[in-house]
Every structure is written in structure tokens, then in C-alpha cells.
């Protein structure tokens, strides 16, 4: 089961590398012309074609690219002329910091709110939180980000820096206040999904016969919720958390761009604007690899939390 999932993940990544390669290098006519623009000199075009191996057949191009990628040489950036990996790795660390902080804030908060909303169903807290979750889930992340900037960093209150710029080579920890707004934005953005999922599965668990039995035995509310309903409501919540992490990988792109946060998402937007092919290719594959990995880990955890599925 687990091995099958991993093999499927590898297959997905392989197909995806074909797709990424086709979209960036093979399909849209002459990649060299697209990178350099219409004003490029024939000599510069020729040099770039040689560098990207554009004069070889597409399959050979793909093989040269993927084999050097797998050996840990993703090539040189077309924008900075430095190794792509150097460009990407520090951004990767910054994005991981952001992701970890958001997970640490959003997961406990939304799990707690979901459980409370389910226990006090159709009361004030549940109604207000559910409606707020619907509204927040509907608006795009950049709208949340700009609204927070308007509220906390400019028009209304001047509490926090509106941008998260740090000088190159400096750690994002050097000024922790720049982390607040990006973390807050992404926390709000992912809250609704986990909240709704845990609320729905808790309501189902609380209405089940074993919880009713516990009630009839005179068990106190706290123990009914924590010891009986919650363990059965957790597997769907783990799925929701997994989906959320996978979703966050996309969410960081826009949010990092809004705040100028030096992460991999903002790096991708810059690479697209600079038409830096090797950087785009590597970054997209890293995103997809993360997504596939999160899905596999999520499935394994659900398996461990659901004894019923293990024997199948």
C-alpha cells in the first residue's frame, strides 16, 4: 500500500517533469527567442541555443536536463549567471520557515475552533466562526494580505512593516516583525479548510452511538469529547491538514510576492518575469515534489490512525 503510493508518486513526478520541460523549452516555438526578446542579436541567440541544447532533438534535450538534475546539477541561472541551486536554496529555507510558523499557528487554532464549534453547534460561536470561515475561504489570498496591510500597516494602524524585505544574505529572523503579516495572512487563508473538516467530522462522531452510550453511562462532557469523539474525528482532519500544507505551497507564491518576502514563491515570480528557464524548471519540480511527498505522508498517517484500514 505505502510502496504503491510511493511508486505512483515517482511516476507522477516523472510525467510532471515531462510536462514542465515541454511547457518551458519545447512547445512555444523558439525558447531562445522568447528568453532574449525580439531585439536579440543572432550571435546571442546562437550562444543561448547552444547552452540550452536547443539544436538537438527534444528527447535528447530532456535527457541532458533530467540526468544532470538528478546528479544534483540543475544548471546555471540565465538571470544571474550563477548556479540555480545557490539562488533557490536560501529561498527554500526562508519559505520553510514561513511554512513551519504557519503550520504551528494555523493547525492547533483551527482544530480547537472546529472542536468547540462542533460541541456548541448552532450557538453564537459556531455561527460566527462558520460564516467568517466561508467569507475568508472565498476571497483570494492577496485580498486578505492587502486588507491586513491597510488595517495594521498603513491606513488605519501603523503597527507592523508593510513589506518583509531583508538585505541579501541576512536571515529572516534578524527582524521577526517582518514575519507577522505573512504568517497571519496564510494562517487566515488555511483556517477555513481545517476548521470545516474537523467541525463536520466531530459533529458526525458526537452523534454516533458510542458517544450516546458514553452519555448514558454519565460520562462528563470533556471526557466524551476528548476520549471518544476526537480520536474518531482525527483521520479526516489529518487529510485536511495534508491538503492544507499542499495548498500552502501554492499560497506562498502570491503572499510572498505581496510582502516581498524572500522565499521560493517570490523567486518563481521573479524567474518568470526574467524568463529564467532553469530556475523556473527546478522551482516548479520542487513544488510538485513537496506536494507529492505531503500526500504520501498524509496517507501513511491516516493509515496509522485508522486501525480498521491497516488490516485490509
Amino acid at each position: 500500500m505505502v510502496i504503491r503510493r510511493i511508486l505512483l508518486g515517482v511516476l507522477t513526478l516523472f510525467l510532471l517533469s515531462l510536462l514542465v520541460f515541454a511547457a518551458t523549452q519545447v512547445l512555444p516555438g523558439d525558447a531562445a527567442q522568447a528568453v532574449l526578446g525580439r531585439t536579440a542579436t543572432p550571435a546571442a541567440l546562437h550562444a543561448l541555443r547552444l547552452r540550452l541544447h536547443l539544436e538537438r532533438p527534444a528527447l535528447v534535450q530532456y535527457w541532458l536536463w533530467i540526468s544532470s538534475l538528478l546528479r544534483g546539477h540543475p544548471g546555471m541561472s540565465l538571470a544571474t549567471q550563477g548556479p540555480v541551486w545557490e539562488l533557490v536554496s536560501s529561498r527554500l529555507v526562508n519559505s520553510a520557515v514561513l511554512l513551519a510558523l504557519v503550520s504551528a499557528c494555523a493547525i492547533p487554532l483551527s482544530l480547537l475552533a472546529g472542536v468547540v464549534a462542533a460541541v456548541r453547534r448552532d450557538r453564537a460561536f459556531d455561527n460566527v466562526t462558520s460564516l467568517a470561515a466561508l467569507a475568508v475561504a472565498a476571497v483570494p489570498e492577496f485580498v486578505i494580505a492587502i486588507a491586513l496591510i491597510l488595517l495594521l500597516a498603513s491606513a488605519v494602524f501603523h503597527l507592523l512593516p508593510p513589506v518583509s524585505l531583508v538585505p541579501p544574505g541576512t536571515s529572516v529572523w534578524s527582524k521577526p516583525s517582518i514575519l507577522v503579516l505573512p504568517v497571519l495572512t496564510l494562517t487566515l487563508a488555511v483556517f477555513p479548510y481545517i476548521f470545516r473538516m474537523i467541525r463536520a467530522s466531530m459533529i458526525e462522531a458526537l452523534g454516533s452511538e458510542y458517544v450516546e452510550m458514553a452519555l448514558l453511562k454519565g460520562m462528563p462532557l470533556r471526557r466524551r469529547v476528548l476520549a471518544h469523539a476526537l480520536p474518531n474525528a482525527l483521520p479526516p482532519a489529518v487529510q485536511a491538514v495534508g491538503l492544507t500544507l499542499a495548498y500552502l505551497a501554492g499560497g506562498v507564491v502570491v503572499v510572498e510576492y505581496v510582502f516581498g518576502y524572500p522565499g521560493i514563491g517570490q523567486g518563481l515570480v521573479s524567474a518568470v518575469n526574467a524568463r529564467d528557464l532553469p530556475t523556473i524548471q527546478l522551482t516548479v519540480l520542487l513544488f510538485a515534489g513537496f506536494y507529492v511527498m505531503v500526500n504520501i505522508v498524509t496517507d501513511v498517517i491516516s493509515l496509522l490512525l485508522t486501525p480498521r484500514l491497516r488490516t485490509r
Binding site: T12, L13, L15, L16, L19, V20, A23, T24, P28, A31, A34, V35, L134, A135, A137, A138, V139, P140, E141, F142, V143, I146, A147, I149, L150, S154, A155, P162, R196, M197, R199, A200, I203, E204, P236, Q239, A240, L243, A246, Y247, A249, G250, G251, V253, V254, Y257, L268, V269, A271, V272, N273, R275, L277, I280, V284, F287, A288, Y291, V292
Partner: protein
């Protein structure tokens, strides 16, 4: 057959619009839609004409002041919606249509065709939505056509999953087996028997997808990948003008509010539609969440 289907669909819409969430959502979407569609006719100035200094404060005939190069904010707001709403509607229709076709045919025919179609769509699902769009525009450059294509490709896999799951249920029904026994051609069975019975889930899915389309298109415009300057759209306006928030916040505040009202309204109506459809078919609550989960994990 088609008459009763239409009547049923009409009543689903009608019942959704009668719930509180439904009519509030419809009103919100309606207001923004009117602004977007009638706006270009009402604009007091040309949206591309320079009329004063950058970020000029409101006054002197400029109700919302001026934006980052000194054009009238109100004129640009009124002209900016037309580049989001129609594209969102067309791209949603395209994504739902493609997804429904792939999902129904895969679910009905099964076998190797099913495997290949669904596995290919899984590959698209492994790329975060916004990154798929960035990949598409990375070389060909920014354009509304590519943004629309990106939205279609983003929606198709998810819609296909929903349509496939509904088709698998419908294929067990007696009326489908009856048509099969009469050896009707598969295409006719899919169109006449399967499609009407998956229309309910597809309708709910379309409403949800429209909300996402608006969000994705606005986000891509915000990143500068949609409309080409000097023409305005709400997403791009927010990005262009945020450096001047302290001088004149209106060119940011008004487009942000419009995008927020539009997406929240569409989402409220989609929620009402989902609840009404769920009440019709399943009669239990919490189904909205379940359908989302089905769409992703099925």
C-alpha cells in the same frame, strides 16, 4: 424528459435564492456585476487619460482621487471589472465543460481509457494552481487568453473527479441499463441518460468553480500576468497603487472591496445551492464539506 429537468433545475436555483445566504449572495454578486458591465459606459473620464499628479487626493471632480500615474481612480475602477468577470464566466464554462466531458466518458467507459485520463489529470493536480498558471505564461508572456487557458486547466481535473463519481452512481440506474439493453450508442446514453443525472452535482460544482475563477484571475492580474497596461483591471490596480496607500488609499481600497464582495457573494450563493441540492438528494447536513473532500480524494 428535458422539460422536467429544466423545471427541476429552475426550482433548485429558485430554492437556493430563497435562503438567506442565497439571496444575500445573489445581491452582492449582482451589484458588482452591474458595476463591472455598466461601468465602462458610466466612466466620467477616459481610464487611460492623465488628469493630474500621481496619487492626488479626492476632489475637483475626481471622487476617488488619482492613481499612481495620475489617472482618475473612479474611471479605472468602472472600466476594470469588464476584464475579470466575462473571462471568469467563460473560463469556468470551459473548465466545467472539459471536466464534465472527461469525467463522464471516463466513468462510463471505464477500463484503460479511465485509468489514462484520470492519471493524466492527477499529474495536473500535483502542481499548485497558481504555479500551473505561472508555468503557462512563463515563456509565452502575459495575456488574457493564456490566463483563461490556465483557469480551464486548473478546473478540469477537479470537475472531472466529481463528474466521474456521479457517473459511476448513475451507471447503476435502471434507465441507463434499459438504454443499454436497447443497444443505444454509448454517446447517446451519456448525453441523454447520464448527463441529466450528473447535472445536479455539476451545477453546484460550477458555482463553486466560478468563485475560484474570479479569485485566480484577480490573483494573476495582481501578479501582472493578465491585462496589458495601460488598461485597468481590479487585480492589477491593487498592485500598481499599493505604494501610494498613505497618500491616496482609494485606488487600492475600492478594487479590494469589489473583489472581496464579488467572491464572498459568489461563495455564499454556491453554499446555498450546495445546501439545497444536498437537502434534495441526501437530506443531511455537513454535505458541503463532504463534497469538497470527495472532489479531492475520490
Amino acid at each position: 424528459m428535458s422539460v422536467t429537468w429544466q423545471a427541476l433545475r429552475a426550482s433548485t436555483w429558485f430554492r437556493a435564492a430563497r435562503t438567506t445566504r442565497g439571496w444575500v449572495g445573489l445581491v452582492l454578486v449582482g451589484v458588482v456585476t452591474v458595476i463591472a458591465l455598466a461601468g465602462p459606459l458610466l466612466a466620467p473620464f477616459s481610464p487611460t487619460m492623465l488628469v493630474g499628479a500621481p496619487f492626488g487626493a479626492p476632489g475637483g471632480g475626481h471622487l476617488l482621487g488619482l492613481e499612481y500615474v495620475g489617472r482618475d481612480t473612479l474611471a479605472r475602477v468602472l472600466d476594470g471589472g469588464i476584464r475579470i468577470l466575462p473571462l471568469a464566466a467563460i473560463a469556468t464554462a470551459g473548465g466545467v465543460g472539459l471536466g464534465a466531458f472527461l469525467g463522464i466518458s471516463a466513468g462510463y467507459r471505464g477500463g484503460a481509457y479511465d485509468e489514462i485520463v484520470m492519471r493524466t489529470l492527477d499529474v495536473l493536480l500535483a502542481v499548485p494552481q497558481i504555479i500551473l498558471a505561472l508555468l503557462l505564461v512563463s515563456l509565452a508572456g502575459a495575456s488574457p487568453l493564456l490566463v483563461g487557458t490556465a483557469v480551464v486547466l486548473i478546473h478540469a481535473p477537479q470537475v472531472a473527479r466529481v463528474a466521474r463519481a456521479a457517473t459511476l452512481r448513475a451507471a447503476q440506474e435502471d434507465f441507463v441499463r434499459y438504454s443499454q439493453a436497447l443497444s443505444d450508442p454509448p454517446l447517446r446514453i451519456m448525453l441523454n441518460d447520464v448527463l441529466p443525472s450528473v447535472a445536479g452535482p455539476l451545477l453546484v460544482e460550477s458555482a463553486l468553480r466560478l468563485t475560484y475563477s474570479i479569485g485566480i484571475i484577480a490573483s494573476l492580474n495582481f501578479l501582472g500576468l493578465g491585462t496589458r497596461p495601460p488598461f485597468p483591471d481590479w487585480g492589477a490596480m491593487i498592485n500598481e497603487n499599493r505604494i501610494g496607500i498613505d497618500q491616496n488609499p482609494w485606488p487600492v481600497v475600492v478594487p479590494v472591496a469589489l473583489v472581496a464582495v464579488l467572491t464572498i457573494g459568489a461563495s455564499l450563493f454556491a453554499d446555498a445551492l450546495a445546501r439545497v441540492t444536498a437537502g434534495l438528494e441526501l437530506g443531511s447536513e455537513g454535505v458541503v464539506v463532504k463534497q469538497e473532500a470527495d472532489g479531492r480524494d475520490a
